[in-house]
């Protein structure tokens, strides 16, 4: 085999390998689908994106080199072409070279990788803090500096469409599975610290446009931070398997300019004052049933099912259940504090007193549970205060 031929074949193979690379890494984007990591809207996400692209290109270049040599050999060094096998079996020099060069490439990559990590782990200088508590299958957001807290769950339209054989076309639902009832609202241009934890099992909070995810672990409080450059709506999902509805636990962040954020904070505060007033007054059965129905739909129906029939074996039916038709105190206790060793979590701090009272009233009077019991928000507030005073709160 002449040397010229080897070069020509190698160039042809190189062209073919590069064409294959293009087909795999560039062409699919022409379908209009997103195929790459988003550059995102924070300084971190841009750094992580750049790192991703650097290491991707390093891999692509090495890959093209290795595969070109290999396929050139496959084309040329065939028995069917009468090629006689060489006898060599090692080359110390070659082996030293291809051990050393990768080490140098790795060292070069380690530098930006280390810098990015050091920056990521530095949450100091944060201007506000949001505590995120994950539980099956919702997110609770607490604004520690603003005294605001609420729970965010999958939006109703998605929730209806995602049931097995719902007959609803997911394409017809706006932001299917990536929509929530109460988005997390954040200001742009501020360093925001997140304290992330969980109440039952491990979850993970991820908004791709922010550039990171962090696990929410019961018993631990993890720290992370962001600083959003651009106002807009950003969507993500839970990324640690957390049970049957792991796929239905989205995250939506609405990033607002500071002034609009401040207005939102004020509105939330007024709302919470109304809530507080609401707890104090006496509610009619009809009001409680109406509110209870919607609370039940968002908080309880995932497990106990919209018709109260439950899902065997993990999730018991409420229709005709001993608890929902038995003594009121025991029922309140389970709903407030959960039941250890089961998937039933305590709702004491996840729902307002009014919502707990409404849900209790609803489940004791719906699905044929005609107990006639009415539980007032003020009763729940009293129980809550009592248990806090006694230090028995979980």
């Amino acid at each position: 085999m002449k040397k010229e031929n080897t070069v020509i074949v190698a160039l042809a193979v190189l062209a073919a390998v590069m064409a294959a690379t293009w087909l795999l890494l560039v062409a699919p984007a022409l379908t209009g689908n997103e195929i790459n990591m988003p550059r995102g809207v924070t300084s971190q996400s841009a750094i992580h994106y750049d790192l991703h692209m650097i290491v991707l290109w390093v891999c692509v270049v090495i890959g093209i080199g290795v595969f070109t040599v290999m396929f050139t050999s496959i084309v040329l060094h065939r028995k069917s072409r009468g090629y006689e096998a060489a006898k060599f079996s090692h080359s110390t020099l070659a082996e030293i070279i291809w051990t050393t060069i990768p080490v140098l490439i790795l060292v070069a990559m380690a530098v930006p990788a280390t810098t990015a990590l050091v920056k990521m782990e530095d949450a100091s200088g944060a201007e506000m803090t949001v505590k995120i508590t994950a539980f099956q299958w919702r997110w609770k957001y607490e604004y520690l500096d603003h005294d605001i807290s609420f729970i965010s769950a999958l939006g109703a339209a998605s929730n209806e469409a995602r049931q097995l054989n719902s007959g609803i076309d997911p394409e017809s639902v706006q932001n299917y599975l990536l929509d929530v009832d109460h988005p997390l609202v954040l200001p742009v241009g501020k360093k925001i610290k997140f304290l992330i934890t969980a109440d039952d099992v491990i979850h993970s909070w991820w908004v791709p446009d922010f550039g990171w995810k962090r696990d929410a672990i019961p018993g631990f409080i993890n720290e992370a931070w962001t600083n959003i450059d651009k106002a807009g709506t950003y969507r993500g999902q839970c990324t640690e398997l957390c049970g049957k509805d792991h796929g239905f636990m989205p995250i939506v962040v609405t990033a607002l300019p500071q002034a609009e954020f401040d207005a939102w904070v004020n509105a939330q505060r007024a709302d919470s004052r109304d809530q507080h007033q609401a707890t104090k007054r006496l509610w009619t059965r009809q009001e409680l049933m109406q509110r209870g129905k919607s609370v039940y739909a968002t908080a309880c129906a995932t497990c106990h099912q919209p018709d109260g029939q439950g899902l065997t074996p993990a999730f018991p039916a409420l229709a005709g259940s001993k608890i929902a038709t038995g003594p009121v105190a025991a029922h309140i206790d389970i709903v407030m504090n959960g039941l250890a060793g089961t998937a039933m979590s305590g709702w004491r701090d996840k729902l307002s007193e009014t919502d707990i009272a409404a849900a209790l009233t609803y489940t004791r009077n719906a699905f044929g549970n005609e107990t006639g019991d009415i539980i007032q928000p003020i009763t729940i507030a009293g129980i809550k205060r009592q248990s806090t005073d006694q230090g028995t709160a979980p």
């Binding site: 040599v69 050999s73 006689e84 049931q163 491990i202 993970s204 990171w212």
Partner: protein, 548 residues
């Protein structure tokens, strides 16, 4: 090339001349139960392992098809989310512990004694035990799917606290894992004892075939980590049923501790699945390149280095748990380092092919497919090592694509290459080359249609282990599912080719089978005598694939 190895005086005629395909004069036990249930013969036990593995491969494959069918389009059409999670969990457990690991033990059983010039394994009765535990363990594991509380649904990684929400079936899962572990440890002890004690004269350690080397190292990994897994799942058991609080934060336990323990097992485990594959590829490439393996010694050292590094990189599976910066940096650097010995292996394989005199029978095709596609899986592995970027990749379909690339066109392709390569030796019959090649090409095309788009899905933001997704991910999921169905169907060709080769093929294999094959197993007849080498052959330098 007619370099069929001449035996050096020690071997007896009944080995070399057993060409009639019947080995009745080898004192095989008579009767079905005696032959298979009570067998202590390394080849019969090897066959049992391989059959079990093939069955598990098909069972795990059906679960994969269910997963891909549900993911074919957005919305839930076929199964409830909880059953979907049971499928992803069981698919992984069955494929890892039922398909790939037993297949490698099966090949080790068949090949190690023949490759080192021994009559059988060192501990034949233990060999019987280590196999016969497995079918019972698997029946128990699979039976959980039919229990009231359903099968395990917390992923094969069994993370608490989620896994503690499993019902009573968790006890069966954990007992099955204990049995699998006991089986693996016994198998490993046997392999180590055989390799260290039963090598023929002249078969020094640095003359051993690469498959023997990689298995020796794999066996040490298994012995090191299976007890760790056993400890971890036992703590789950007591947490669930006996009110301990190892992993319960409210009781003073630590859920993250489980992940540390699990991945201390889990990372060496993935090398347990791939190291024997490295060995197989290092056997096959020289044969069909008609050239010695390039850099034999550095291959051995690279394998040992990879095995060592596998013990200090577990943290890269848990970069998002909130480790201290120092921990993240350590695990990132250690993980990046793995690409050096792995790179040496790939470069050595390419150099083995370079200036060879290549032919492209089915085993060679699968070996080349392995080198290319495993390398792609290695690249995405290097990307995942970069901690800051991993904060994006972690637990997305990018990870799913990565480990399926190293496991399917990695380990599984190597298993198929090994099957085509040694099946004529095992059975004395040639398989259908035409159908073998069809199987290769369809597998290679569809495995890429199946897994390559998953890289895009992960980067674009699709988490793993979800039964339903936003319509923005619809196109590539549908392509991936189509690839999955076609890849699954293609494997039926493999089953047919194997069955045809074993029972129907009229084309007899020669002792050497392949023109370029070297090594002791090719000096035995095809099929080999029931007791491989009853008198040890003397091994000389020119009998081996690697001319160190």
């Amino acid at each position: 090339m007619n370099t069929a190895i001449t035996h050096t005086g020690h071997d007896r005629p009944d080995h070399v001349q057993a060409h009639d395909g019947h080995d009745d004069h080898d004192h095989k036990p008579t009767g079905f139960l005696n032959r298979w249930l009570f067998t202590t013969n390394h080849k019969d036990i090897g066959t049992l392992y391989l059959i079990l593995s093939l069955v598990a491969f098909l069972v795990g494959g059906v679960m994969a098809i269910i997963i891909r069918a549900e993911l074919f389009m957005p919305g839930l059409q076929l199964v409830e989310p909880d059953f979907f999670n049971q499928m992803t969990t069981m698919h992984a457990l069955v494929m890892v512990f039922g398909a790939v690991m037993p297949a490698w033990v099966g090949f080790a059983n068949w090949l190690v004694p023949m490759m080192i010039g021994a009559p059988d394994m060192a501990l034949p009765r233990m060999n019987n035990w280590s196999f016969w535990i497995l079918p019972f363990a698997f029946v128990m594991l699979l039976s959980t799917l039919f229990m009231d509380s359903g099968g395990p649904a917390a992923g094969w990684t069994l993370y608490p606290p989620l896994v503690l929400q499993t019902g009573t079936s968790l006890a069966f899962v954990i007992f099955a894992i204990h049995m699998l572990g006991i089986s693996s440890i016994m198998g490993s002890i046997n392999i180590i004892a055989t390799i260290l004690n039963m090598r023929a004269p002249g078969m020094t350690l640095l003359r051993m075939p690469m498959f023997v080397w990689t298995w020796l190292i794999t066996a040490f990994l298994l012995i090191a980590v299976m007890p760790v897994l056993a400890g971890a799942v036992t703590m789950l058991l007591t947490d669930h049923f006996f009110s301990t609080n190892f992993f319960n934060a409210a009781g003073g336990g630590d859920p993250v501790m489980f992940q540390h323990i699990f991945w201390f097992f889990g990372h060496p485990e993935v090398y347990i699945l791939i190291l024997p594959a490295f060995g197989v590829i290092s056997e096959i490439l020289p044969t069909f390149s008609r050239k010695p393996l390039f850099g034999y010694a550095s291959m051995v050292y690279a394998t040992a280095t990879i095995a060592f590094l596998s013990f200090i990189v577990w943290g890269h599976h848990m970069f998002t748990v909130g480790m201290p910066l120092q921990g993240e940096l350590f695990f990132m650097y250690a993980t990046m380092l793995i690409s050096v010995p792995t790179g040496v292996k790939v470069f050595n394989w390419v150099s083995t092919m370079w200036q060879g005199s290549m032919t492209f029978e089915t085993p060679m095709l699968f070996a080349i497919g392995f080198v290319v596609l495993f390398t792609i899986g290695g690249f995405s592995g290097l990307m995942l090592a970069i901690t800051a970027a991993d904060f994006q990749y972690h637990d997305t379909y990018f990870v799913v694509a990565h480990f399926h690339y190293v496991l399917v066109p990695g380990s599984v392709f190597a298993l198929m290459a090994a099957t085509y390569y040694w099946l004529p030796k095992f059975t004395g019959n040639m398989y259908s080359e035409k159908w073998g090649k069809i199987h290769f090409w369809l597998s290679t095309i569809f495995v890429n249609v199946l897994f390559f788009p998953q890289h895009y899905l992960g980067l674009a933001g699709m988490p793993r282990r979800i039964p339903d997704y936003s319509p923005q991910f619809a196109d590539f999921n549908m392509i991936s599912s189509i690839g999955g169905f076609a890849f699954g169907a293609t494997q039926l060709i493999f089953v047919a080719v194997v069955l045809h080769c074993v029972f129907r093929s009229k084309v007899k294999a020669t002792a050497q089978v392949w023109e370029g094959s070297r090594g002791l197993e090719w000096t035995l007849s095809s099929p080999p005598p029931y007791h491989s080498f009853t008198t040890p052959p003397v091994v000389t330098r020119n009998m081996l694939k690697h001319a160190e």
